[in-house]
Each structure stands twice: as structure tokens, then as C-alpha cells.
């Protein structure tokens, strides 16, 4: 690692971050109401993607449980929203997701590769069906109304969750645990013999990543006003984070963020500008990106930069 370049870039980078922070922190003051709503939705996608990347990025375990954690947050919010204040509801949503992830993580320790992905996807569908059965047979209804909260509040809460997610992801990736997670992705057996408690580390990080998806779900539910098991546990939210992360490129920390932002914005464009051809265009973009941009957008960016800079950018 060439420390000199990193050091000289640091103030600039921090300055940029600070400016972005200011820009978004005051968005509800100068932006249109809808821009607040749209940015909330984009933030939600970033939270889901980054929280997915926290665990799946370094370890290579493709989790498809995001929709489950997100949905648990949504349902918690729908159940508790009328009785508890918002911060408690969100904490509850996050914690419930955390516990579910701990449980699932502990269960699936033996599963590798595609089996892990399938199990986590099965989880989403199973919860959906069980909850539906419960609602129909026990509560004799299907869905629930969620309390409505004003858009600016939702925005700030989502902003806070986003900040927490990115900071956590950043610090984990920079910490020794980040390195350990990466080693698990490279060779799980060797990591264990290097003294890493692989099972505990995996389970805890998996659960930590679920925390954020759950919190995002808890606040998003208030935007959706009405939810049912199919709305809350929509498998789409399992695939989206994966696609967004790959779209952005997993080689770099900021790749998933860029991927989520552009992907979400692109989708918004397509469903409003080309509603009748949204799927077709979207599918083609997806295939093209996977075929021609294996490193995602960030990979493309790096390819361009390689022309200018002779330096290696093999940062961890």
C-alpha cells in the first residue's frame, strides 16, 4: 500500500464526504418533497446493498435473506408502530432481524456456496407463507395498516440508518475482522487453522448486517402505509442488493454504494419514462453488465484510470 497517496488524498476525500453530508442533511429544506421521497428510497437501496455487502462481500457467501430481514423490520413496525414511539419501533425491528439472523446463521454454518444461497432464499418464502397462514387463520385478516409519519422524519431516520450502515461497513472492512472475513472468503479452512473462530465471526457479522436491513424495513413500512406478508417479504428485495452490489462492483468499498445509487435511479427512470419496456431494457442492461463489466461500474472506472495512473491500486 502506498501510504503517501492515501494520505494526500485524505483531506480531499473527507471534504467531499462532508459536503455530501451537508448537502443531504439539508435536503428537506431546499429540495422538493418528492426529491426527499426519492432519496429516501435510494437510501433504502443503499442500506440494503451495503448491509448485504458487509457479510457477503468479503466471505463470498451469497445471502438471499435480505428480504427476510427487511420484511421482519416491516412487520415489527406494523405490529408495534401504534403502541411505541418511533425510535423504539426501529430498534425493535433491527433487533428482531438481528436475532433471526443469529438463528439462521447458527443453523446454516455447514452450508457453503449455492446451498447457503438457496437456504436463505427458502427462508424468505417460508416466513412469507407461515405469516400468511397466521394472519388468515389467527388474526382473520391479511394485512395491516401502518401509522403514517411525515416524509422528512422518515428521511432523517433513513439517513441516520444509512450513515450507521456505511460507517459500520467501513469500520468492519478496515478492522481485523474485515480482514478475517476476507480470509474466510479466500479459504475458510485455512482461516480456522490460523486461529479465527470462523463460526462465531460469520454468525455475528451476518446478524450485524441484518440489523440494518431490519431498521430500514421498520422505517420504510411507515412510507408504505399498508403491508401484508407478500408486500413485506417480497423476494425482489433479496435479489436487488446482490444485483446492485455486482452492478457497482464488489472490488471496492464504495462500489456497492455507487451500484445502489445508479441502479435505483435507473430503475426509477425506466419505470416512469419507459413503463412499457422497463423489464426489457432492464434485463438487457443486466446481461450486458454481467457479460462486459465483470468488475462492475467501479471496475470500468478503474480500467479508465489505469490509463492515467501508473500506480497500482491494489488496496485491500
Amino acid at each position: 500500500m502506498d501510504k503517501t497517496t492515501v494520505l494526500s488524498k485524505k483531506p480531499l476525500f473527507l471534504g467531499l464526504l462532508f459536503l455530501l453530508f451537508i448537502l443531504f442533511a439539508f435536503l428537506p429544506l431546499y429540495g422538493s418533497v418528492y426529491s426527499v421521497i426519492l432519496v429516501t428510497a435510494i437510501f433504502m437501496h443503499i442500506v440494503l446493498t451495503v448491509s448485504w455487502v458487509i457479510f457477503s462481500g468479503p466471505t463470498g457467501y451469497i445471502s438471499l435473506a435480505s428480504a427476510a430481514f427487511f420484511g421482519v423490520g416491516i412487520y415489527t413496525s406494523a405490529i408495534l408502530g401504534k403502541t411505541f414511539p418511533l425510535p423504539i419501533v426501529i430498534c425493535f425491528g433491527a433487533l428482531t432481524s438481528f436475532c433471526l439472523a443469529l438463528f439462521v446463521g447458527a443453523l446454516t454454518l455447514r452450508l457453503r456456496g449455492i446451498y447457503f444461497s438457496m437456504f436463505t432464499f427458502g427462508l424468505v418464502l417460508l416466513i412469507q407463507q407461515l405469516l400468511l397462514w397466521y394472519e388468515v387463520n389467527i388474526t382473520h385478516t391479511r394485512g395491516r395498516f401502518v401509522i403514517v409519519i411525515n416524509n422528512a422524519t422518515i428521511y432523517y431516520v433513513m439517513f441516520a440508518i444509512l450513515a450507521a450502515t456505511i460507517l459500520t461497513a467501513y469500520f468492519i472492512s478496515r478492522s481485523k475482522y474485515g480482514l478475517a472475513l476476507q480470509s474466510i472468503g479466500e479459504d475458510e479452512e485455512a482461516s480456522a487453522h490460523t486461529g479465527i473462530n470462523v463460526t462465531v465471526l460469520k454468525t455475528i457479522i451476518f446478524a450485524v448486517s441484518a440489523l440494518f436491513a431490519g431498521a430500514a424495513g421498520a422505517i420504510m413500512a411507515t412510507r408504505w402505509t399498508y403491508i401484508d406478508p407478500f408486500i413485506a417479504f417480497n423476494p425482489l428485495f433479496s435479489f436487488m442488493p446482490v444485483l446492485m452490489a455486482i452492478f457497482g462492483g464488489m472490488g471496492q468499498f464504495y462500489g456497492s454504494i455507487i451500484g445502489a445509487v445508479i441502479f435505483a435511479y435507473l430503475q426509477e427512470m425506466l419505470i416512469t419514462r419507459f413503463p412499457y419496456y422497463y423489464m426489457l431494457i432492464f434485463g438487457i442492461i443486466l446481461v450486458v453488465v454481467i457479460l462486459y463489466l465483470p468488475g462492475g461500474l467501479v471496475g470500468l472506472l478503474q480500467k479508465w484510470r489505469k490509463g492515467d495512473l501508473a500506480e497500482k491500486h491494489a488496496n485491500t
Partner: protein, 245 residues
């Protein structure tokens, strides 16, 4: 003093005994060689000691404490480090990071990150890789990857190092360097149990040799005794035609 001992160690794979009722010990400060034809169960025994596999019966003790039944990371932290037959390094992580993992996670007490970094650098210097610390491990030559594995193992501050085929696939110069590395490790006070196929190397370096065949211990003794042993020559050296590579 016996640093490692095993009694009645047995492991079945689907009804077949890969290791049956093997007793062995390693004394503090020794270099012990573990030899035997392919499929004799050498690596299986390593896997049992390092807890990659769970044994079916028997007991393995390290410094008098039972370690069989622990998890791999616990065995590592107790002071037993290992390398692998087919190199298992973390290819996309730089060399320093590979070793850092060992010093961060593998030591018995845990240490501050500054200490861990110092320890890692020290290990790298010891094996002679300090100049390549920023290179992704996958870009190293095979010989260097093997050294990296050793450095990573050393960074966990082990008392016992299990080395699985350090010199397979190396050229003569590299082989000599590797053998020299092993003696230097011993000189640091680390006990070594090593699997090796190249007879010349192992005979010259080991204090004692254990011979496995079909999962059973068939002989044990100094290199001279082993070379002289009729059983060994019969069952083992007979197979040497292909095992010398």
C-alpha cells in the same frame, strides 16, 4: 518433556479406518518426521491433531492437556500451528495481511494491533518475504507461497508447528533453503512435526521418524533405525518408485 502425545487415535471414513489405534508422541524441541506411502494417513493424522477432523476414538494431548475435541481455532490458539499439503494462502490478500491474520487471531493471549503488526513483520523477515509484503499472495512463486504459509503459522506464536510437505514441487535450491528454514524454526525453540516424501531431506533433518502404513504406525525411531528397519524397507521403500517426486 512430551509436548504432543496421542493414544489410540482412530478415524474412520465411511467404515474404513484411515487411522487406526495410533499412539505417538513428540518431545519438546524435536523435529519429528512423519512418513509413509501415499494414503498411509499422514495428512489425516495432521487433520486430527489440528482438529480439522474429529477423531472417532482415542485422545490427543498437547502439553499434557487434551486438545482433541477442540475447534481448529482453539487448537491454533493453544499453540499448534500448521501448514497444508496443497498451499492454502489467502490469494487476494497481500502478503503482510496473510501473516497479520495469524498474529491477530492465532496467538493465545491476543495482542494489540501494533504488536500484531510488529510480530507479523518479524515473521515475514524470518522467512525472508518482508520485501514482498504488499504483493497479493497469489502472485508469489510456489516456494514463496509455502514460506508465506510458514510465516503465517509462525505469527500465531506456536510451540508446535505441523508442516505438511514443505518441499514437494520445489527445485533443489529452494529445497535447501526450505530445509534451512526448518532448522532455524527449531532453533527458535519451536517443536516440529513434519510430513515429507523426500527421503534424503527428512533423514538429514529429523531427530526421530514415525512411519505410518495403512493407517497404522509400523515403526518409530531415529533416521538410522528407520533406514535399518526391515519392515519399513519392505512395506514402505518398496513403494518409493512413485513417491519420490
Amino acid at each position: 518433556m512430551r509436548i504432543l502425545e496421542g493414544e489410540g487415535v482412530t478415524k474412520y471414513f465411511g467404515g474404513l479406518a484411515a487411522i487406526s489405534n495410533v499412539g505417538f508422541h513428540v518431545d519438546q524441541g524435536e523435529i519429528v518426521g512423519l512418513i509413509g506411502p501415499n494414503g498411509a494417513g499422514k495428512t489425516t493424522l495432521f487433520n486430527l491433531i489440528s482438529a480439522a477432523l474429529v477423531l472417532n476414538s482415542g485422545v490427543i494431548k498437547f502439553k499434557g492437556e487434551k486438545i482433541s475435541g477442540l475447534k481448529p481455532h482453539q487448537v491454533c490458539r493453544a499453540g499448534v500451528a500448521r501448514t497444508f499439503q496443497s498451499v492454502k494462502i489467502f490469494g487476494n490478500i497481500p502478503v503482510l495481511g496473510n501473516v497479520l491474520l495469524g498474529s491477530l487471531f492465532g496467538t493465545s493471549t491476543g495482542m494489540s494491533s501494533a504488536d500484531a503488526a510488529r510480530e507479523a513483520m518479524e515473521s515475514l523477515e524470518f522467512v525472508g518475504l518482508s520485501t514482498m509484503r504488499a504483493t497479493p499472495a497469489k502472485d508469489l512463486t510456489l516456494a514463496n507461497q509455502k514460506r508465506l504459509e510458514v510465516a503465517r503459522a509462525l505469527a500465531t506464536q506456536p510451540d508446535l508447528l505441523l508442516i505438511d510437505e514443505l518441499i514437494a514441487g520445489l527445485n533443489p535450491t529452494e529445497t535447501a533453503q526450505a530445509m534451512e528454514l526448518v532448522t532455524r524454526i527449531r532453533d527458535r525453540g519451536i517443536t516440529i512435526l513434519m510430513i515429507e516424501h523426500v527421503m534424503k531431506a527428512i533423514m538429514s533433518i529429523c531427530d526421530r521418524i514415525i512411519v505410518l502404513h495403512h493407517g497404522e504406525k509400523i515403526a518409530e525411531g531415529t533416521p538410522q533405525e528407520i533406514t535399518a528397519s526391515k519392515t519399513v524397507v519392505e512395506v514402505y521403500l518398496g513403494d518409493q518408485a512413485y513417491a519420490g517426486s
